[in-house]
């Protein structure tokens, strides 16, 4: 590559090296070099011995991406702070400086308001989420296994999955009144369908040969379900769990922002109504952090429990 692949991932790939994207650059012990082809370059032979690079250099190599991430956020917030302090692009009434947001965040944590509202929000979400898992996964399994139930319920489940279920929230609020039950119902309605659909789709992919093999070895229907279908479907169930958690978050924030006298969403709404942007952003920050953590947790679970199927990452 003539220009050394400056800046282009596509071009960089031409040279065949992943550069410093890999977690830590591993150096092969010198006594192994030039000998039998090792496992790493596709041959047989012993794994290359890896040398621990110590000190700052090693630390930098191992945590390269993390360091860049931290630096990235630091630069972002510092630039934000400087721009909004000296030459505000947007009126600081609407986009306050990060230090003001942090100060507000600290105050709200210290006086307990934020903790209390967060507890209310996440209790509702947890209850709703557990309910939808409790009903969604078994329903998906049943629909996947039994053709008849798939025929009968499938279209509705699909329609409700594709339709914006949150649209019905005003009617749910009208029926159940403002409060935790309505909130839980809306969240559960949001989280339920992706779970059921994903589980059902997963069951559809179960290889029939495996089922036949299990049958040949004398497995009954329950055993086939327990030993073949469920393990085979696990990646889809986990993907469903992740999609369900993002949808549950959406439902939670939606109900709390518009129809609730409590919760994190309510704090955002209330702070916005009195033009207290710093508080609003501090709560938004909490919502962002908890959403990212939850989604990443489920991504981690997917990678940990179903490492063989990292293909279905949507």
């Amino acid at each position: 590559m003539s220009d050394g692949g400056r800046g282009g991932d596509i071009l960089r790939r031409l040279s065949g090296s992943r550069g410093h994207m890999s977690k830590a650059r591993v150096e092969t012990a010198p006594d192994r070099q030039g000998q039998t082809p090792t496992a790493r370059d596709g041959g047989i032979g012993p794994r290359p011995r890896e040398i621990e690079v110590t000190g700052w250099k090693g630390f930098r190599q191992r945590h390269w991406l993390g360091l860049v991430g931290v630096l990235n956020f630091l630069v972002f917030f510092v630039v934000w702070q400087l721009v909004q302090t000296y030459t505000p692009v947007v009126d600081t009434q609407w986009v306050p400086v990060p230090t003001a947001i942090l100060k507000d965040l600290w105050e709200n944590i210290a006086n307990g308001v934020l903790i209390e509202q967060a507890r209310y929000s996440f209790t509702n979400m947890l209850v709703a989420y557990l309910l939808s898992v409790l009903f969604g996964v078994p329903l998906g399994l049943i629909m996947g296994v039994s053709r008849m139930s798939r025929m009968l319920f499938g279209p509705y489940i699909w329609a409700l999955y594709a339709a914006p279920t949150i649209a019905i929230a005003p009617v749910v609020i009208l029926i159940f009144g403002i409060g935790a039950p309505a909130t839980i119902l809306v969240i559960a309605m949001n989280a339920f369908f992706p779970l059921a659909i994903n589980t059902m789709d997963g069951v559809a992919t179960v290889e029939e040969n495996l089922v036949r093999a299990a049958r040949v070895f004398g497995a009954n229907r329950y055993q086939v379900l327990r030993r073949v279908v469920v393990p085979y479907t696990l990646p889809w169930i986990l993907t469903g769990l992740r999609i369900a958690v993002t949808r549950a978050l959406l439902g939670m924030v939606f109900v709390e922002v518009f129809f609730s006298p409590q919760g994190l969403g309510y704090l955002i709404r209330q702070a916005s109504d009195v033009s207290d942007a710093a508080t609003a952003y501090s709560v938004i920050l909490i919502v962002v952090i908890s959403s990212v953590l939850l989604v990443q947790l489920f991504r981690y679970l997917e990678a940990k429990f179903t490492p063989w199927s990292q293909e279905i990452q949507i």
Partner: protein, 289 residues
């Protein structure tokens, strides 16, 4: 597992053996099952919809299982739908909603594709932007709405921003995934034939990414519709969401349900259009992820 009967007959029959005659000693249940199996999907959908609506209508007019205020019978929803079309309520609100949606979708989709292509293609940009993209994609962006409304007022602008926020992230994420998955051998081949960096990008990476963009577009378009609706629930004096909320405030649940039905129909139509139109365009089939 799901088709036991078929499995048994098939495994019993060798390639040269005569076709197995099904012994028909099945009762009405089996016959019903076979009928279900042989019917095409659309027929089934229509039949099950008709049954649902009939049961719903009967339950709510004769038995009144749930107070009709909470769950009006389908006939009442239909009447509300017709009435609101006749007096122009729906047309006016839908026009307002769709106008915002169109602007938001156009801006969100073009910006999303541009950002996705640049981010996916240039490693440094990718490393810097990815955390922000994922943070905003994971977060329910409705959280930003109250402050947007207070800052920008009851104008279409905050609604358009919400729609853009809804549309843009699935498109960015899918476009990045597409660019990252470009087949290395294609790139090498283009390189061998003397393509420079721009040509490599425009002639190989972008066409390769189009199917991914289509997937993102479909996800983004439905998400954008949802955000359109949400953005009208609060801080709006017009639009579909506003109409539904007003109807619930006045206890006109049939109108509210009619609005929800309209939203669902719109969302199904948009998905269908986005799935059918690409079939007639070259190289735009959706990626199978």
């Amino acid at each position: 597992m799901t088709r036991d009967a078929d499995v048994d007959t098939r495994s019993a029959a060798g390639p040269l053996s005569p076709p197995v005659q099904r012994v028909s000693k099945d009762g009405p249940r089996q016959r019903f099952g076979r009928l279900l199996r042989s019917a095409p999907g659309v027929v089934l959908l229509v039949v099950s919809l008709v049954v649902l609506i009939a049961v719903w209508q009967y339950a709510q007019t004769r038995i009144r299982a749930v107070p009709p205020l909470y769950l009006p019978p389908p006939s009442a929803i239909w009447h509300a739908l017709l009435e609101n079309f006749r007096n122009g309520q729906f047309q006016q609100n839908i026009a307002f909603s769709l106008q915002n949606y169109g602007v938001g979708l156009a801006i969100g989709a073009s910006a999303g594709v541009a950002i996705g292509l640049v981010t996916g293609g240039i490693r440094k940009v990718n490393i810097i932007l990815t955390p922000y993209i994922w943070a905003l994609y994971s977060t329910p962006n409705i959280a930003f709405q109250p402050i947007l409304i207070v800052a920008l007022g009851f104008t279409p602008l905050p609604k358009i921003i919400m729609i853009i926020l809804g549309v843009i992230f699935p498109i960015i994420v899918n476009t990045i995934a597409g660019v990252e998955k470009v087949d290395g051998s294609l790139l090498r081949a283009a390189r061998v034939f003397g393509a420079n960096r721009l040509q490599l990008y425009l002639k190989v990476a972008v066409p390769y990414t189009v199917p991914f963009i289509m997937t993102g577009l479909r996800l983004g378009a439905t998400r954008g519709l949802l955000y359109m609706y949400i953005s009208e629930i609060y801080g709006s004096t017009n639009g579909l969401g506003y109409m539904v909320l007003q109807a619930t405030h006045r206890f006109q649940t049939p109108t509210a349900f009619a609005g929800v039905v309209l939203l669902v129909v719109m969302s199904i139509l948009i998905v269908q259009v986005l799935q059918i139109v690409p079939r007639f365009l070259p190289h735009t089939r959706e990626a199978k992820i």
